[in-house]
Symmetry: C2
Subunit: 356 residues, 2 copies
């Protein structure tokens, strides 16, 4: 029996207003006079107050990234080329400032700057050969756990799959709850539910151990404080929930919801957060208590999911989503354990998709 040697983020700053310390964190990395850093910033922040607070020097590179669509290997390769064209030296740090997609872009670019070829070659597990450029994650929306995880999920030419490696993990994260205060309600909710759903899938899964359980249980409690009790410290609590949800996945795995959400996302382009919610809402047979509580939280926040989005789709579109979903072996193994292949039938998945 072999247990994962879990690589986690080695340095973190937590606190309201701690974004102001980014300058000091970068100062420790800037050694030569011509050292530069790259800021990858979600373009929702462009021309907003946060943009004005970036501790950028004149020779740094700021790139605003658009993440309306899920990040792609193509986008990563283009960003990497842009950094390489900007300066023949490597940057001393790559900073991701945004939600899960932006954080994943920053992770992926920091890896591709030191690993040859295109990022699609590295979709999978432990395919990365060289350590990444120092990289920092700063969430401005919470729930994905991207700040804590060892993956950078990308849509590639063949599949949606992460660059999973120890080198993917951020060297530093800054968790400043002030930054997540202004997120629009739906996005806040969908992204927060990513965390809640992680925890359900993890706690109901066959992979669970006490490490994952402790983190997932606490993360779930925090989600309840945020989405049910409307706690006055809810921004801090959601930030911790997201981080702890990410830590939980280290020794567990997501499940049926993420498998279906991947299918939805890959074929129809749904963003991860809403994709999960759409999928979770038809999974009452898998996660009865979780789905019930999730619907309660939707009602509390007046969230209305789009309806019948798959009902009238052509059979071949459904079949494509079913194929993607079915290919998520480890997720189904976590749901059913050994012998999952017999249980995850095209028929069962097709029925579920038709209900979405």
């Amino acid at each position: 029996m072999s247990f994962k040697n879990f690589k986690c983020v080695p340095k973190m700053i937590f606190g309201r207003g701690s974004f102001a310390q980014l300058d000091a964190v970068l100062a420790a990395e800037r050694k030569a006079a011509n050292d530069f850093v790259v800021f990858l910033v979600d373009d929702v922040h462009q021309n907003k107050s946060l943009a004005g607070r970036l501790p950028a020097k004149t020779h740094d590179l700021i790139i605003y990234v658009n993440v309306e669509e899920e990040p792609t290997t193509k986008q990563v390769d283009a960003l990497t080329a842009q950094v390489q064209a900007f300066n023949t030296k490597l940057p001393v740090s790559v900073i991701g400032l945004g939600g899960g997609s932006t954080l994943d872009l920053a992770k992926a670019v920091s890896l591709m700057l030191t690993n040859n070829g295109g990022s699609a070659e590295y979709q999978g597990w432990d395919l990365i050969n060289n350590p990444a450029v120092h990289h920092i994650g700063i969430p401005t929306i919470s729930g994905t756990g991207a700040e804590a995880s060892r993956t950078a999920v990308l849509c590639g030419p063949v599949r949606k799959l992460g660059l999973n490696s120890d080198y993917t993990v951020f060297d530093q994260i800054i968790m400043d709850s002030e930054l997540i205060a202004g997120v629009p309600t739906e996005q806040w909710f969908f992204t927060g539910m990513d965390c809640y759903i992680h925890c359900v899938e993890s706690l109901e899964g066959t992979y669970l151990n006490e490490f994952a359980k402790a983190y997932a249980e606490k993360s779930m409690d925090l989600c309840r404080e945020v989405f049910i009790n409307n706690h006055e410290e809810k921004d801090d609590k959601l930030m911790m929930a997201s981080y702890m949800g990410g830590m939980s996945i280290a020794y567990s795995q997501v499940g049926a919801c993420h498998a279906i959400s991947y299918g939805l996302g890959y074929v129809l382009g749904y963003h991860h957060g809403i994709g999960n919610c759409l999928a979770f809402n038809v999974l009452e047979e898998f996660y009865p208590e979780g789905v019930e509580e999730f619907r309660k939280m939707m009602a509390l926040h007046n969230i209305n999911l789009p309806k019948h989005i798959c009902r009238d789709l052509p059979d071949e579109t459904i079949a494509k989503m079913v194929a993607v979903t079915k290919s998520m072996g480890p997720l189904w193994d976590n749901v059913y354990g050994a012998g999952w292949e017999e249980k995850v039938t095209d028929e069962m998945l097709t029925k579920l998709f038709r209900r979405i």
Copy 2:
């Protein structure tokens, strides 16, 4: 306002039986043929089955350490000299296998191998200049949180104080709950209570933030599962409680109990675990609910604390303990906040000590 940039253990293995993976972990550090590692092992394991399972090569150094007394700077300096006399090269890893004291010895030796002078010079905060030798912590008794913390607490010529630095933190920990199964009841209880008391002090303290709170609350819940509910997975849960308790302290601080326990330990030589219990038992005015629950747990496990150990001590002995206890500024600041100096009087402390 400035928030701590918290350095945590970057790699960890959690799981029953995971000690068997130490060999593979060390293989990654052993590069040259003459590379060697140092095992610092609590001498309670000498000639026991665990000793036979050490993945030691012929040119490695195994040292059994006696930790009946709290670790001292003298002991650290002697161990460091022993390693230096063994081989002119530095070891590629120092492994601590034991409880909090042994883990602290391993941290301290790994630091002193790369930092000149005696360890007493480094008692304090951020006094260490050079990174330590790679070091691995493997608890065989849980509760202190030493596996997760950035300190190595040592009794020095002048005071009991830790080597607190980012370099102190283990590079790797292995949390194998099989290793803590055979601990004698009293030691198991006293060390577990170190964790429980950490959490109480942290949650009731002025330094608390949501990061520390989330960890301390979960750690406390886990302690209850272990010490009240006698959960069947209690060894795993205690191991997680200890780790999470240690993580909590990163953004909080211990309080009145540890301050008094340091006084007791320094002057009378009480070990940290039992010292905390002796102190906590007279602190009902500081921590009413915590002390009540603690007494309930003592009763459940038939733990009888020694009584009247300070009642008849000479005034000057009490005064010495009071002085040590009073000098713990940050701990009292965490208890009372600004102005603590006026509240922490000799009279108040003397009264408390006389009740122990």
